[in-house]
Amino acid sequence: MTFALFVVPVVLLLVGFPIFMVLLTAVTVALVFFMHVPLIVVHQNLFGSVNATPLLAVPFFIYAGELMGRGSVAQRLVDFVQGGVGSVRGSLGVTTVGTSAIFGAISGVSAATVATIGKVMVPAMRRAGYPEAFTAGLITSVGAIDVVIPPSIPMIVYGAAAEESVARLYAAGVFPGLMIAIMIAAYVMWRARREKFGAGEPFDLSRFLHATGRSIWALGAPVIILGGIYGGIFSPTEAAAVACVYAALVTALIFRELSLREIVEAAAATVFFTGQILIIVACAGVFAWLLTVNQVPAAVTAWLQHLNVSTWMLLLAINVLLLAVGCFLDPISAILLLSPLLVPIVKAAGIDGVHFGVVVTVNLAIGLFHPPFGINIFVAQSVLGLKLETIYRGIIPFVVIYLIALGLITYVPAISLSGMHLLLGK
């Protein structure tokens, strides 16, 4: 059985087979050669894993982000944030952080944020004389905030895998996301002051009001999504559907930027990315069932209890594991592969499942831009025309900032859980 559950997946993963095949092969080998259960369980679990209403939020949020990202929303948000913080030194960098955080509250798709915000901000920072490596590191790393600030696709997937409430996870992600944004903004201002670049402009109230007026419809999306969820008006799935309709109406009728064909094209892109993600969710569901019926999580938990590992050490070990995995795997695949093993262990250790969900998300968010293979690095390279070595050089300080934030989020659960208590009252 060890061969089916561990050797087969690891070998197939290393030789580059698709993740869904890795999981399905492990399941098939285990069922055919090592277990005596009806093979129909494969179909039942494949179907059952995606026959779940909460998962609808995944394609809905992707679609809302697709619609909002195709028009001038990014430019409008940039103008709004720049209008507010333009007087501080390093304001373009701070604007990049602020706009990414707001955009993340609409789409929750990190690579899209790097591409969309980067197209606006990278040329502006170049013109203003920002160091190229600094610009590259900043734009490549800020997109990771998006998967921490709700709505977050990895959090939905974690919620499904760990049987945690997505609304609670979203509420718990707010403060950690804002904390990371503030830490990066503070670093940007410090670097700008030390190296004397990015001088601010005097605050212009009329310009700010004009930018606010132009961005008001774009700012409405996060208000509807987050206000709806935390106000108890919508479930996360419903909030995502409302956000889709809102995004379609705003971009097509108010901004007059999208045609009906482009709205359907955005839906087609959503179908494609949903196919990529949910086939893994389906196969991971069978794999998780297999682990559970073979009592693997229980055995690992018992082993760790026998070792008498402290909670502090356990979290440290899990962080190292997730950071390593995040360097090579996308967050959704990593969550689906590891949650069946890790969640029972941390719950047995008395760690809150929601807090752990945020820790997992931040870890894997770092993997999105961590050298050498973070996907956002390649997005910045291909879409924004930044050199790979420049990105690698520029990204190091931002990796350090995220690691400090990760340490705080891991060992101070209140940073996550206070948001949940404050916004949901429980």
């Binding site: 030789v15 494949l46 995606v50 094209e265 087609a268 949903t274």
Partner: protein, 171 residues
């Protein structure tokens, strides 16, 4: 020629699913509006939406398979020589055919059972062989695609055609 036809079929599946997906969004939105403004709900709308998502999962995977953009960890593969990648791609297609055939058999059997007993969904009354049959249909198409790709990789020695393109990760 066949590749071009397969691209067209994949595109057609993608657009049909896109229209179905827009329907799912509108159904969900209508339910929210109906509940808050008129105190009514579309019974069974949730089931229709979820079944559309099931279609997006298993038929969407067909589109992803055709474009060779499944998510994978291809760090080591990129470092391998061409002959090793060719061997791996052949092995991948053979394994995919075996897996798709295995799942297809189970799903076909299950959907057939649903058809025989006439089971319908609780609220919308949709015959359950349809959503379950989508799993069988998806893996049938994946089986055929893997078969065609195996043929092209072997006959053309075309490692690029079958090599991982490293799926676009969205997060």
């Amino acid at each position: 020629m066949i590749d071009r036809q397969l691209d067209r079929i994949a595109r057609a599946i993608e657009w049909i699913l896109a229209l179905a997906f827009i329907l799912a969004v509108l159904l969900n939105f209508t339910n929210v509006v109906g509940r808050y403004l008129f105190g009514i709900a579309l019974l069974g709308a949730d089931e229709v939406e979820v079944f559309i998502m099931v279609a997006m999962t298993f038929l969407g995977a067909v589109v992803v398979t055709q474009r060779n953009e499944h998510l994978r960890m291809d760090v080591l593969v990129r470092l391998m020589p061409k002959w090793a990648r060719l061997v791996l791609r052949i092995a991948e297609q053979v394994l995919l055919m075996l897996l798709a055939g295995f799942v297809l058999k189970q799903s076909y059997f299950y959907a057939g059972q649903m058809l025989r007993i006439g089971r319908t969904s609780d609220m919308a009354g949709i015959p359950m062989w349809i959503p379950h049959g989508l799993v069988a249909l998806g893996f049938t198409l994946i089986l055929l695609l893997a078969g065609w790709r195996l043929f092209t990789v072997i006959t053309r020695r075309d490692v690029v055609h079958a090599a991982p393109e490293s799926g676009q990760v969205r997060e």
